[in-house]
Symmetry: C2
Subunit: 358 residues, 2 copies
Amino acid sequence: MGVGTVDTVMQTTQNDIFLRACRRQAVPRTPLWFMRQAGRYLPEYRAVRSQHDFLTMVRTPELAARVTVQPVEILGVDAAILFSDIMVVPEAMGMILHMVEGKGPVLPEPIRTRAHVEALPHPDPESALGYVMGAIRQTRGALDGRVPLIGFSGAPWTLAAYMVEGHGSKTFRRAKAMVYGEAALAHALLGRVADAVGDYLLAQAAAGAQALQIFDTWGGLLPAPEFAEFSLAYIARVVSRLREANVPVIVFCKDCAHSLEAIADTGCDVIGIDWGTDLAEARRRVGARCALQGNLDPAVLFAPPEVAARHSVDVLERFGRGEGHIFNLGHGILPETPVASVRAMIAAVADESPRYHD
Amino acid sequence: MGVGTVDTVMQTTQNDIFLRACRRQAVPRTPLWFMRQAGRYLPEYRAVRSQHDFLTMVRTPELAARVTVQPVEILGVDAAILFSDIMVVPEAMGMILHMVEGKGPVLPEPIRTRAHVEALPHPDPESALGYVMGAIRQTRGALDGRVPLIGFSGAPWTLAAYMVEGHGSKTFRRAKAMVYGEAALAHALLGRVADAVGDYLLAQAAAGAQALQIFDTWGGLLPAPEFAEFSLAYIARVVSRLREANVPVIVFCKDCAHSLEAIADTGCDVIGIDWGTDLAEARRRVGARCALQGNLDPAVLFAPPEVAARHSVDVLERFGRGEGHIFNLGHGILPETPVASVRAMIAAVADESPRYHD
């Protein structure tokens, strides 16, 4: 695996249909990648993971690059997405982070006070998150222009929710109590997180990420008015800063179908559509303002391969003819997903999507 | 506490504003009850719970009646809802049920085969679920006509999801794989569960339940087309059978705002609206076809009491003037909720709601 240099950033991407679809340009078939594609459903990923713990993989550019490239080489997806974790930003902001098997991220010293918010350092991405930039450079070298590389971050609200709650939760009641009961404190925290996220994503683009996705996994925990005020306003601030990077920006807010038009208003290039939202209706509502990415239900991949193939074509059909569709799952692939169904999905989209394009 | 008899069923209900609002009749103020109101947030409930395990309370009419009446006497809500659990129906259908602290229901022998589906007995409610009917009769006696008593069941899909998965899950991937990959088997199971639910709810009404709520906690796990086919079709079958009971029927499908019109099509009297859905928009879409119940975010109750009061008035304002609103939370109250905020919510609705009625 080569070490990336400025030269690799300048290289021509051989398969650029993902980047073209992000900009609603003409493509001969619908590009496909999927969330968590560098993950545990792949035996080749599990082989690496069995030798290293999760955070070691995240923090070691060579390992992160190796699993990032796996789905490109094994499955033939049209974009790579960096293997990393959204929780690296809270950690770079000084919070202690543990990954607990079966439980996810745990922050043993969650934020509950203004003093804690004001003490959060503003992380310099190249020093505090240099391992991510290293992973991007190494991945670009390893990809050698075959497909584009997507960088990402958690959305400010999603990160702040973990930082206040201290761990994953069905309800995030502490984080939401701050929104409802201590709005000024929530805004102070979100402003700092948004500044960190903006710098982090700009640094990813400078290191070689060719598109950037903002994941608002927990946007759906807020009713629409609070989503607008405490989540989308900060996503919009980040998207606005990313204009200077001149790479496509994808915004994926889970369970936020109520706000598709407002998400388009952020100026993002692509809106990620979750599996609970009808893609045809999303297209009607968003129109020509953004490309749409999605939205096969990840649970479909537990059905037999022919069912996965049929539902994948249904997704193409729901979007319909024309440009601006990137095929994806409607949420991350689940760890136990059988690879045979993943291959059936990919083959169906490759075979059937050309008739949706001129 | 008296033992209920047929006489208690015939008695006049002193505070019937809940029942009148279910039928969109005029009321002087907006009635209020809330999901899981007989629950762990109340110290008086925890006192009973500390002496008995959860399923013992469910199965002992005297205990179930005692905690059912608590929120009426302590907080002054406008309806009681029977303390019970949706998992009693799968258990009555022959499945082994454990309640695991911090994990919820566990069914150690989940359904995976047609043979298992076909071997499920059809439970006779008065024998297999006689303890529920006993609890209803005792509660009616204890309430002595002060407020109406609501009975309930899980929706067929929600129950089937647990029966196939074997436990709660963020994704219910096995249950969904059956929907996607073995639709005929899923329909066979859902048909049997719907028949059991219909008989169960009719028996509750015969025992004295004065309204019936169907909880589809996991309806939102299905995209709209699958929700229509595998959940709502069976809810509609149950609602249709309940017409003969001549009591209001409430349908609450969590995270199913995409299908409000279709839920109204079931012929239910009331639609439960979750906190993620805008109540004003729900009213516009449903119109005069059904009353609406909801929808304060339960997380609001973790903010200070004055915030809980303000957001409660916001809910009244979102529904607006006129009849057909039952105030409720948009999902069950959370166990650690401070009672002071609950009282602030109740006081705000009592004080402010008269101006929304003629």
